[in-house]
Amino acid sequence: MIMGLFNDWVVVVLMMIGLYIIIAHGNLIKKIVGLTIFQTSVFIFYISMAKIDGGTAPILVDGVTQYSNPLPHVLILTAIVVGIATTAVALALIVRIKEAYGTIEEEEIQEQDSQHKDSHKLNIHNSSEINRDKKEC
């Protein structure tokens, strides 16, 4: 029972590790690491699903009748690209967050935000001039 579903167990364990990191860690980079592990577990799920016992790579060869299913592999290629794009966007956001807040810890960001909550002045970050001023300070 357990060995028969070995791949599924790996998937579930990885998935839970990933989700746990996203929830438990306050560091934004670590959250992204968790997110990547979470996504990777799904990739493994798709890839292992396509494997057929005794099947070979899906290339037509004489004398071979059983092939692994290539479709999930192709699907997951797309999903991997999507995953990389997500990670890239997330890291770019973290760089901007670091510039604007000076920290990448969730708690400190929330603390800074709650201090500004009452004032209706905008915390402008987009104009590069202001950023430069901050750096000079």
């Binding site: 959250k31 996504q39 799920f45 966007v89 956001l93 807040y101 209706h120």
Partner: protein, 502 residues
């Protein structure tokens, strides 16, 4: 040409997005984006006409036959959605150039339009496609561009909101991916039509239950259903005004569409509602969403936050209609989807105009604006009345249908709750009215003038649409009714198949 309309709907904005980068002047990029969105709107009008007159359109990409290739399947439901998305997108774009001049730094204007078109492509793709995996890909196209668009906001909290949305959105999309994988494992197909025929055979397996759970939770994260709504208020509040107006009207609607599509078309009504206690869950969460979000909206000091929470409450109404799982209930949901898109795009555009003139949307800054920006404030008032559901506005039509659907099932207490929820809307709309009309103007606002014409035209187009469709309800009601009837026809035929096999 006409044969290729379903794919052109998606391809045109997709191809146009990179072309924006070639154009040198920002004004040109804006006009080009407007043109592309206009073309997409025309295509969707033609598609809706075709679907209403001659039934579902099936388009096979690259000529590959359905279960193997990807097909675009345009029926009444998604033709209706395509019309809403492209229509709102086009109207909102009229004000885009004026609005982003003040809210986004100059060098990012072209990028803004590229992202906007990509996001539009993603949403249109989700709606047009008939392939489950394709849904995931388009979902990510629209979401990734959405994260970047939200991060363009002037306030630094926009970055934090975009990050939070990215985490939640990716978890949601990955959940959908897991669900699709499990479905593929059981049926060996990704085509929605094919899935709907093969799933009943294996419906009683735990794998299919798990698949459904993953898909639904993933979608509910995307549609910000209470209690999975935490990413929405900040994302809407700190994004550039144009982005908020566009997303508030379309992004969550696309997710509602997915919920309906997967529940009714792919898994079938008998599976979703009979074997699982979904009706109670959705009904309870929808009602809770209405009350919790409306109450939270009352205590907001930022008007964008206020309307963002009101959006979550309105999603609650759609979920309640959906959970009734009758033709009348689904009609109410679809109508509210259309109407809410009209209200919220008008309201958020008007807030964009306030942002343009004052540079803030704090409630305290609204003092006396009723006299200084009469047309903009009048638009907010009419939009607000529509939110409440006052007769002669669209809000009334959908609430009326929702009440009728509830009463049809004899659920009087719930109908009363829906009415009470509308009372909460009166409170939060009144807070804005009170500020704008019954308080003296702030000294710092002495020079504040009415919003520029490029804002007023789109805002009032939407406001008139709010009133027009509130009086002449034919278009919305006819299409929504036809769409929900056809969905039920499919689902009911599923039930008979199961009974035959038993």
């Amino acid at each position: 040409m006409l044969v290729h309309l379903p794919v052109l709907q998606v391809i045109v904005p997709l191809m146009a997005a990179p072309l924006c980068l070639i154009l040198k002047r920002v004004q040109l990029v804006w006009l080009f984006t407007l043109l592309v969105s206009g073309i997409a709107f025309l295509i969707s009008v033609l598609l809706l006409q075709q679907v209403m007159s001659s039934g579902t359109i099936i388009y096979e990409l690259g000529g590959w036959e359905a279960p193997w290739g990807i097909e675009y399947r345009i029926d009444k439901l998604n033709a209706f959605l395509l019309l809403i998305i492209t229509g709102i997108s086009t109207v909102v774009l009229f004000a885009a150039q004026t609005s982003i001049e003040k809210e986004i730094s100059q060098d990012k204007h072209t990028v803004f339009y590229v992202l906007y078109l990509l996001s539009l492509t993603g949403m249109l793709g989700i709606v047009a496609t008939g392939d489950a995996f394709n849904v995931f890909v388009f979902l990510e196209i629209s979401s990734l561009s959405a994260y970047a668009l939200i991060a363009l906001g002037k306030d630094r909290r926009a970055l934090w909101a975009a990050y939070q949305y990215l985490i939640m959105g990716t978890i949601g999309a990955t959940f959908i991916l897991i669900g699709i994988g499990l479905m593929y494992q059981m049926t060996g197909t990704l085509n929605m039509e094919d899935l709907s025929q093969r799933l009943p055979e294996v419906a009683q397996t735990r794998t299919v239950f798990t698949a459904y759970a993953f898909v639904i939770v993933g979608i509910c994260l995307k549609l910000a259903m209470f209690p999975l709504h935490l990413w929405l208020p900040n994302a809407y509040a700190y994004a550039p005004s144009i982005v908020t107006a566009f997303f508030a009207a379309t992004a969550t609607k696309v997710a509602i569409y997915l919920l309906i599509r997967f529940t009714f078309s792919v898994f079938g009504l008998s599976f979703s509602f009979t074997t699982l206690p979904l009706q109670i869950i959705f009904m309870a969460l929808g009602m809770l969403g209405i009350f919790v979000a409306s109450t939270t909206a009352i205590y907001q000091t930022n008007v964008k936050h206020l309307f963002a929470y009101s959006s979550i409450a309105q999603i609650g109404y759609m979920i309640v209609g959906f959970s009734i799982s009758s033709v009348a209930g689904l009609t109410a949901t679809l109508l509210h989807l259309f109407n809410h898109a009209l209200m919220k795009s008008a309201l958020f555009l008007a807030l964009g105009a306030v942002m343009y003139r004052i540079g803030s949307v704090q409630l305290s800054q609204f003092q006396g604006l009723g006299r200084q920006m009469p047309l903009t404030m009048a638009a907010i008032v009419i939009g607000g009345l529509s939110l409440i559901g006052v007769p002669l506005t669209v809000g009334f039509v959908s609430k009326w249908y929702l009440l009728m659907a509830l009463i049809e099932n004899g659920w009087w207490p719930l109908a009363v709750l829906v009415l009470l929820g509308s009372l909460l809307a009166i409170v939060y709309v009144w807070r804005i009215v009170e500020m704008a009309y019954f308080k003296p103007s702030l000294a710092t606002h002495a020079n504040v003038k009415e919003a520029p014409i490029s804002f007023l035209i789109p805002i009032w187009i939407l406001v008139f649409a709010n009133i027009y469709f509130g009086i002449d309800t034919r278009l919305g009601v006819q299409v929504a009714q036809a769409a929900s009837e056809s969905l039920f026809a499919v689902s009911v035929s599923d039930i008979t198949i199961i009974e035959d096999s038993l």
